[in-house]
């Protein structure tokens, strides 16, 4: 193993710079020099114990020698076709992302409403460079080393663009898939732009089709909401113990726009999700929620920054973890309220259940308030299932395992309720219930596992 896991990627870039640039549009390429410079300054990837990385070792995550598809060898054509893993199966507007390569389902383009683009980001950047260049990299420019590394190597990903005034009523769905037979890293960019008054809801699912291969997803998402726009974004990870995820999501909210985020990790190996949400103009609202169900040696880290720059904005953070076995979790939630952000309402809750004595949780709730007229609150608790509730249920004949499951499901109810889309809400409930009932198959053996258990 390399003593500095960043070096191998810098070397890769140095040796293959032309090949990478040749196979990516200018909107991506023009960002690389600054990213390269930022990485040179950072010198290494964050280690456990670094600021913001109290429990998560990014250097170790990136250390293995993953293959990166810089030569753009197409993924097997049958990925989309063979995909039976339609877990939530709520959408006819679906695209599969094999690594970083967007593959629309046959009916997608025909069914997309006018004014809605869901497509390959590289293709979009070639067709409409001004559109993509106006946004790509704007929010990620100051990101930390894992973000810069993504910028350094990214060649494709997904664009969701909704034109002004267009309400995309049907939910859109993306399924991120790993299915290579060799250890692979996907470097993926996602750009979401909702123009003035537009609205959409997007569900993103992560799956690894093989449970016997190491994968790493590096994902950077930038979301721009114009005045009055509304986006519901739900991310659901059901990967394998050998899948790692390094994800950063940035969002810029203009006046009276609304962002609802739900990030759920049901199964994974090691996952780091960081969110940076900026409320730039009055009346913007961000509701960020997430849940983690960890078992075995699963590690999940959610790092949230919500920054109020303007008056009369509202935000909430609600994160809950249930950790069993040797699972570990980390949560850092920061609410920052700038001088000008009077009449802010900002709340944060992190509650965690440890179902085993070996499971560990690290939580860091933080408030930075530089303004008087604000209503802010935060709370964090970590505990066990209520033994009295458990006993009460058992005296009514409910077997212990089932009683525990019911209590855990109840614990997650308010996070599930943040997902307002009824079909998705019900599916999420069911997936959580299935997960809590001890079904840890994930999607390793895709088709059979998912479709059967959802009957």
């Amino acid at each position: 193993m390399n003593s500095n896991s960043l070096t191998q990627y810098l070397d890769l870039y140095a040796h293959h710079r032309e090949a990478i640039d040749a196979r990516a549009p200018e909107a991506f390429n023009r960002l690389r020099p600054a990213a390269s410079e930022a990485l040179r300054r950072a010198a290494r990837l964050p280690r456990k114990g670094d600021e913001g990385y109290a429990r998560t070792d990014m250097a170790a995550m990136f250390a293995p020698d993953f293959g990166i598809n810089i030569m753009r060898v197409p993924a097997p054509v049958d990925v989309a076709a063979s995909l039976r893993c339609d877990v939530p199966n709520i959408s006819t507007l679906m695209g599969v992302v094999a690594g970083d390569e967007f593959r629309p389902t046959a009916t997608l383009q025909r069914n997309l409403p006018d004014g809605v683009r869901l497509m390959s980001l590289a293709e979009a950047a070639r067709r409409e460079p001004q559109l993509v260049e106006a946004y790509l990299g704007r929010l990620s420019a100051d990101g930390d080393a894992p973000v810069q590394l993504n910028t350094l190597l990214a060649q494709d990903g997904v664009l969701l663009h909704v034109a002004a005034g267009v309400q995309c009523d049907k939910p859109l769905q993306l399924i991120n898939i790993f299915n290579a037979g060799v250890p692979s890293m996907a470097v993926r960019r996602v750009l979401v732009v909702l123009e003035r008054g537009a609205s959409a809801s997007l569900l993103v699912c992560d799956h690894s089709q093989r449970s016997d291969v190491d994968y790493l997803a590096s994902e950077v998402t930038e979301i721009f909401l114009a005045p009055g726009a509304a986006l519901d974004y739900c991310h659901l990870e059901e990967s394998t113990p050998r899948t790692a995820r390094s994800a950063a999501l940035f969002a810029a909210l203009d006046a009276d726009s609304r962002l609802g985020l739900n990030g759920t990790t049901l199964t994974c190996g090691a996952t780091r999700n960081s969110y940076a949400i900026h409320l730039y103009a009055p009346g913007a609202e961000a509701r960020v929620a997430g849940m983690v169900i960890g078992s075995d040696a699963q590690h999940t880290d959610n790092d949230i920054l919500v920054c109020h720059h303007a008056p009369r904005c509202h935000s909430s953070q609600l994160f809950k973890y249930i950790l069993d076995d040797d699972a570990s979790g980390a949560f850092r939630g920061l609410i920052r309220v700038d001088h000008g952000a009077a009449f802010t309402g900002a709340y944060q809750t992190n509650r965690n259940l440890l179902a085993s004595t070996r499971a560990t949780m690290h939580t860091e709730p933080q408030l930075e308030i530089y303004c008087d007229e604000v209503k802010c609150g935060h709370g964090a608790t970590t505990g066990q299932l209520d033994p009295q509730a458990l006993f009460y249920m058992r005296t009514r004949g409910i077997p212990e395992a089932e009683a525990r499951m019911m209590l855990m499901q109840a614990f997650m109810a308010d996070v599930i309720d943040t997902v307002t889309l009824p079909t998705l809400h019900d599916r999420l409930r069911m997936l959580v219930e299935r997960r809590l009932s001890g079904d840890r198959r994930g999607c390793g053996d895709c088709a059979a596992a998912c479709t059967n258990s959802l009957q």
């Binding site: 033994p387 058992r394 005296t395 009514r396 077997p399 499901q409 109840a410 308010d414």
Partner: protein
């Protein structure tokens, strides 16, 4: 001996290393109502908790046989399936678990134990309707979380409603009368009486004669300092109401 429903023999139990029950003996036959009275802190709730299998308590000696089965060897859920029911002195609130899901899980768990198929949705709702009527429990509580935001009286009615659904062979009612107004007391006690048969039995833990006016005990026990120190007929409850516990306490404390 065959017609003994519950036989408790020299039962000792402790919590956090502190012995609370110091040798309980009790015999209950089908069709009987036993009242257990006694001063605060004497161990009444501990006894009901130990019989129901509350894991906070450690049994340090003795035995309890429930229609021939070693009760103490069973999990709380299996004690329930075998026909034991505890109406809690302080019913537990379970946020996020609706009454209806809770009851469905309870009913179907018992059916699974008896190797019966789960109830259909309509049969289940019918059962709930029937049983609610017994204690005049408001239908609106069905969609609420278990005991959450229930009034004191609603909680106690809810306990007897659950008892009606589970049809136990032995019910332990731990201060089911506390917190009830006169009307509610009559309804709850009436519910208990409706559920009474010659095959089942009831242990009524109470501080007050007024409940025993409705639920007539066959035997009255006085529990004090972890032991049953006195057993008598229904007249004993009346005597306690009149004289208090001092005479019993003195008698026991002098013997020690």
């Amino acid at each position: 001996m065959d017609d003994i429903l519950l036989k408790v023999n020299d039962l000792h139990a402790a919590i956090d290393g502190k012995e609370i029950l110091k040798g309980i003996n009790l015999e209950i036959r089908p069709g009987e109502v036993h009242a257990i009275m006694g001063p605060n802190g004497s161990g009444k709730s501990t006894l009901s908790g130990v019989l129901a299998g509350d894991p906070r308590f450690t049994v340090t000696g003795g035995s309890a046989t429930f229609h021939g089965v070693d009760l103490l060897a069973l999990s709380p859920e299996d004690r329930s399936h075998e026909g034991l029911f505890l109406s809690f002195q302080y019913p537990v609130e379970i946020p996020g678990v609706s009454m209806v899901n809770f009851m469905r899980a309870a009913v179907n768990a018992k059916r699974a134990y008896l190797r019966e198929a789960p109830l259909s949705a309509s049969d289940f709702l019918k059962l709930m309707r029937q049983k609610r009527a017994i204690v005049e429990l408001d239908n609106k509580l069905a969609s609420r979380s278990v005991n959450e935001g229930f009034s004191g009286g609603e909680k106690k009615r809810n306990e007897i409603f659950q008892m009606a659904v589970l049809e136990p062979r032995l019910s332990i009612l731990d201060e089911t009368d506390s917190g009830l107004d006169i009307d509610a007391l009559r309804i709850v006690a009436g519910g208990v009486n409706k559920l009474k048969t010659s095959h089942n039995a009831t242990i009524v833990i109470t501080h007050y004669q007024r409940l025993l006016d409705y639920i007539r005990p066959d035997v009255v026990h006085i529990l004090y300092k972890g032991r049953i120190v006195y057993t008598g007929g229904p007249e004993l409850a009346l005597e306690l109401e009149e004289k208090g516990y001092d005479w019993i306490k003195q008698q026991v404390d002098n013997e020690q």
